[in-house]
Amino acid sequence: MEIVGAWIAVGLTLFMFSFLYKDNPFYKVGENLYVGITIGYFVIQLWYKTWIDKVWDVLTGQAHDRFVILIPVLIGALLLTRFVPKIAWMSRWAFAFVIGYGAGLAIPATLTTSVVIQAQATAKPLVTMPDRSPGAAKATENAKAAYDKAKEGAAKEDEKIRAARYRYEQSRSVSEYTFLTAYRDFTTIVIFVGVFCVLFYFFFSIEHRGPVRAFSRVGILFLMIYFGASYGNTVMGRLSLLYGRVLDLKDYSRQMYGFATPVILVLMIAVLAALHVKNKGKDEGHAA
């Protein structure tokens, strides 16, 4: 079974990869299978994890209010009236439930998570005054003592000293205005300016002229940094996925899987080459 599985997995992987050469029958086979298999998997999950678990077991159970569960089943069934043109309008009741519930839940949740809390995290003191309380001074003193001790104790263990120094610098940045405090303030300021200017950029009720233009220009630059970071990371993501496939293919080229990868690869190249020769001369626009 395992070997058969390996051959299928390798075959389908290479089918999909063949899209790199161009859109071809192998790719189409893989893709259409994918659609069918995903739906099949989904249906099984729905059957066992939702229908049996949450509907059937309840109906056949003992709870005195068990028939209430028929209400959502009825609503769900109404959705399917979409396929019966005459009574398709009944599906609107079900859509009204689904969409109304989603919208109602989304309003307070979005307001809290994406507006109120985000605003709270932006509005911070742009300059932090040092905490002059005896407690803070004491904490710094202790951290310094620990740092000194670490320096004496372990001459070689660089990492420990560094950690102790880090803690010392951290608490010193609370009780005094140090480089770290300035760095944190700088970060706060950048966040504030960034959020402010980006919001300005997406402001459509006034013309972007004069100082408004300056703000929105800064906003664009922030957006570009966001897109740049996003781009850089996307590359990492795609490469990771590619690596994952390569690793699997390599794994399956071993003897225990009957050299699945090289064999199928050679076969596919042969077929594609044959197709290429056959189609030569015909109008053939490949995916550039």
Binding site: L20, Y21, T38, Y41, F42, Q45, L46, Y48, K49, T50, D53, K54, D57, V58, Y101, G102, L105, A109, T110, T112, T113, S114, I117, Q118, Q120, A121, I191, Y226, A229, S230, N233, T234, V235, M236, G237, L239, S240, L241, L242, Y243, G244, R245, V246, L247, K250, A288
Partner: protein, 278 residues
């Protein structure tokens, strides 16, 4: 110079595919073990969180991804679960993405077996339910009602570990490993911001930039980003896995792409001067 660049720009892109293929495949045969990996603050924060929780804390791990993101998120899940089991925390696993159910089960049972964790006492795998945010809302009220049975059809209420866990807010930590939405943002908006539990997670590279704001606002503690984050986590728990092995290939790929961007732009600027516009 100019004709050369012009030719370069006009070459078939399948040559570039080939270069990338070589860059990614080469390190899988010849280990380079490039040094320099260091835990980033966000990964360290997740590690510290798990490390410093008292033994036996209740942790929910939500697998919000499917095989499409497996190379990135499976190593994260493995590393985090290993750490959780090592610290003897009680793990409840589940998922919001349907096509990830079986994959998640594999990961959970494999890491649990490594740590000799017992099903039902040390960990539970609840599986999946449709409805995205509604699942979170439902779990906040009553997990036993939301998942009447676990993934294998055992009554949830009959599992000893689940006796003490009824509501989302009873978890000491919720970890969402998400490849998109529903994922971390759903858990924050419909879960932690409303029902107040500690939230952390990991995400794919594509989503790292979008999740940064939640970390900055303190809505979640730390964030494991992509395969690199997984490699860092593996380093922190001192157990190398798939991610650490993959970093070489990814690294070469990165350098190749940087080189391509630079080369492409040089070519663009050199050739642009002569014949207005590319």
């Amino acid at each position: 110079m100019e004709p050369f660049f012009r030719k370069l720009l006009a070459m078939d892109r399948r040559w570039i595919f080939l270069c990338l293929g070589v860059a990614v495949i080469f390190p899988t045969f010849f280990k380079l073990n490039l040094p320099g990996l260091k835990a980033s603050p966000n990964v360290q924060a997740v590690y510290d969180l798990v490390e410093n929780m008292p033994e036996g804390s209740k942790v929910l791990v939500s697998f919000d991804f499917d095989p499409a993101s497996k190379p990135e998120l499976a190593p994260q899940a493995t590393a985090v679960l290993r750490h959780l089991f090592r610290k003897k925390h009680k793990v409840v696993a589940m998922g919001l993405w349907v096509t990830g159910v079986t994959m998640a089960k594999d990961i959970v049972s494999r890491t649990a077996a490594e740590a000799n964790a017992k099903y039902g006492e040390d960990y539970v795998y609840l599986g999946w339910k449709p409805g995205n945010f509604a699942v979170i809302e439902n779990m906040a009220a009553d997990i036993h009602n939301c998942f009447p049975k676990d993934n294998d059809g055992k009554e949830t209420a009959s599992l000893p570990m689940m006796k003490g866990i009824r509501k989302l807010s009873e978890f000491d930590l919720v970890v969402s490993l998400a490849a998109g939405s529903p994922g971390i943002d759903t858990w924050i908006a419909y879960g932690s911001d409303k029902y107040h539990f500690k939230m952390t997670g990991g995400t794919t590279a594509v989503n790292v930039a979008s999740m940064a704001q939640y970390v900055q606002a303190g809505q979640m503690t730390g964030l494991i980003g992509a395969m690199r984050g997984a490699a860092e986590y593996e380093m922190l728990i001192n157990q190398k896995g798939d991610a650490a092995a993959g970093m070489d290939a990814i690294s070469l790929g990165h350098y190749l792409i940087v080189a391509l961007v630079v080369l492409g732009n040089v070519a663009y600027f050199v050739t642009r001067g002569s014949k207005g516009g590319a």
